[in-house]
């Protein structure tokens, strides 16, 4: 078997706060193969976005987290790499698209320039060649009349189009991995589908791996091969798409799946949000982190942190009831 494209081991990201260390990512390990699409699912605060930001060390001037663990990408450890080395990876080997297209583009720079600068910086193209390539990329992502729109400022584009432009920027250098942090959350439902279709098409054409971060299982179902569910900075369940959707094991996964509106549910039935809030883990914690919101939790759950139990090939879950629940519950298509 080929070595994985990305191998993450015991990743931890901790922010110093006045009340104590905040464990945003608390020891997760996973891997991603070439060309594979991995969905990372969880509510806000589960640590999924911080995971992505940690891999590329994209924290801003104020946040200075402690990062530990390993993230080996194409032979090099992203977490211990020099700044210069990491800059060569960003944008060229790993591309990233962000959630809010309205604020992700520089409002004062023409979009053509925002694409071309990546090409000039990483591929050494001169400005003429970079401009031409930028127009090609805009065409690839479905922006009409690309050559005449290169000098337009972002405000002239709709949210969906801006997200496409972001995608064009991210794939400009044909990266091996694209990280997408909630790429469709800020978009209309119809546009969501278009963007997801675009991502899928680009994946196939460029042979790109995809790490798709979202809170919406519907999005995951449309775009991913494998899924992992995060809660409280930890991975609580992982498996192939079929395994996790058809036979969810962890109660949190089950709850998340219930949030996805279904065509065959009775008319008028509303999806219930999961009561409670995801935890902000400061300092040490005791017991399973989902226990306060879990309908099945017992005393053991509150006292002891469950380890990860394997259920099937590639499918595992961190719940004390894992083996009991494993083959019993069937959630239909």
């Amino acid at each position: 078997m080929a070595p994985p494209l990305l191998e993450v081991r015991d990743l931890r990201t901790t922010f110093p706060t006045e009340r104590g260390p905040l464990h945003a990512v608390d020891g997760i390990s996973f891997s991603l193969a070439e060309g594979e699409a991995l969905g990372v699912v969880g509510e806000s605060g589960s640590g999924k976005s911080v995971t992505a930001l940690t891999l590329l060390r994209l924290f801003g001037p104020l946040a200075r987290p402690r990062i530990s663990g390993e993230a080996v990408f194409a032979g090099g450890d992203l977490l211990s790499m020099s700044d210069a080395g990491l800059r060569r990876v960003r944008g060229a080997q790993i591309g990233m698209i962000f959630q809010d297209p309205m604020t992700s583009l520089n409002p004062s720079l023409p979009i053509g320039e925002q694409i071309a600068e990546v090409l000039r910086y990483h591929r050494g193209l001169n400005s003429g060649a970079a401009r031409r390539r930028a127009a090609e990329l805009l065409d690839l992502v479905g922006i009409p009349d690309p050559r005449h729109r290169l000098d337009d400022l972002p405000y002239r584009f709709s949210g969906g189009m801006r997200q496409r432009i972001m995608i064009a920027i991210a794939i400009a250098c044909e990266p091996r991995l694209l990280i997408a942090d909630e790429p469709t959350t800020a978009l209309d439902v119809t546009v969501q589908a278009q963007v997801l279709a675009l991502l899928g098409r680009l994946r196939r054409e460029l042979g790109m791996a995809l790490m798709l971060i979202t809170h919406d299982f519907g999005v995951v179902a449309a775009a991913c091969d494998r899924v992992q569910v995060m809660y409280g900075g930890r991975l609580v369940e992982r498996g192939t798409l079929r395994q996790v959707i058809e036979r969810p094991n962890h109660p949190y996964t089950e709850a998340l799946l219930h949030l996805v509106p279904r065509l065959d549910s009775p008319l008028g039935e509303r999806t219930q949000p999961i009561p409670g809030q995801p935890p902000i883990v400061i300092g040490s914690s005791v017991g399973c982190r989902f226990a306060p919101r879990c309908t099945y939790a017992n005393e053991r759950c509150q006292q002891e942190d469950p380890p990860t139990f394997p259920l099937d090939v590639g499918h595992s879950s961190a719940c004390w009831f894992a083996n009991e629940r494993g083959t019993v519950r069937e959630v239909g298509e």
Binding site: L53, L62, F98, D100
Partner: protein, 294 residues
């Protein structure tokens, strides 16, 4: 839920500040406040603490540098060309410097706050007139006009107390007007109006207490500005005249001796600089602390 999930937005508890930096910031507040207290004490007690009579001349001991001895005794800051002790002169100048600064700011504040409240509360032509006045004055080179004013009418403490508030009232008026506008539409004001209270009473007992914190912070800074302005005018010779003494005047008096006795001009300025710095640092610190809490 649809927010960019960055640590900046999630981490509500403030990131731990560097231990040393926080300690310095907190300790420095006491230093600055202490300095101001001492200055105020000196101003109030006058020349009580001065080692010598600031006007007593001793020509033999002229132009001594700081930390020198004369027959009279030890001169911390040296002497001027007539042998007068500089430290005593500086202490003597404290009272008038502080008085003019505080009094002028006080008058300017009274005018500015009143105008601001009227403009904000009544609106209409009152607002327009006051705002035009304030804008026109801000567009004018007020310092120049002040110089002209003092030259033509004669430099004196009284004239300073007339022209310096004029420099400062627009700042207060603008802020108070904005605050008043904001407060005017709130329900507790409506309730007071419905209860039949007069506008004056409402302004005094409802609006004024709410704008007071901002005014206090502003006043502290403006005292500094006014003191600098007074020093500038006195330095130019159009402000305070002898035998009165302020730090600005002392700087001017020391200026001709810059090459041989620089301390004469530098020391009084240092006292002024430290005073204004203390005022600025304290108000910045207060703004920083209260801003994040409220």
């Amino acid at each position: 839920m649809a927010t960019l999930e960055t640590p900046l937005s999630r981490v509500e508890p403030r990131l731990a500040p560097a231990g040393m930096g926080a300690w310095i910031a907190n300790a420095s507040v006491y230093v600055w406040a202490g300095f101001l207290v001492v200055a105020a004490l000196i101003a109030i007690t006058g020349t009580l603490f001065a080692p010598y009579d600031p006007t007593s001349q001793n020509v033999i001991a002229r132009l001594l540098p700081p930390l020198s001895e004369s027959r009279r005794g030890f001169h911390w800051l040296g002497t001027d060309p007539l042998g007068r002790d500089l430290l005593s002169a500086i202490l003597a100048g404290t009272r008038l410097s502080l008085f003019i600064g505080i009094a002028s700011t006080g008058v300017g504040m009274a005018i500015g706050v009143s105008f601001g409240m009227w403009a904000g509360y009544f609106g209409g032509w009152v607002d327009r007139v006051i705002m035009r006045l304030s804008e026109a004055q801000t567009a004018m080179p007020m310092f120049l006009v002040a110089i002209f004013f003092l030259i033509v009418l004669g430099p004196s403490v009284l004239n300073m107390l007339i022209i310096l508030p004029a420099l400062v009232w627009p700042v207060f008026a603008r802020i108070v007007r904005a605050e008043t506008l904001r407060l005017r539409d709130q329900s507790f004001i409506e309730a007071a109006v419905a209860a039949g209270r007069t506008p004056g009473a409402i302004l005094w007992s409802h609006i004024l207490p709410n704008v007071a914190p901002r005014i206090v912070v502003l006043a502290v800074i403006e005292v500094g500005h006014v003191m600098l302005a007074e020093a500038g005018l006195s330095f130019l010779g159009v402000g305070i005249q002898p035998p009165d003494s302020t730090w600005g005047l002392l700087i001017a008096r020391g200026r001709p001796y810059l090459a041989v006795a620089p301390w004469l001009a530098i020391m009084p300025g240092l006292f002024l600089a430290l005073t204004v710095l203390a005022l600025n640092m304290l108000s910045r610190r207060y703004a920083a602390v209260s801003g994040s809490a409220g």
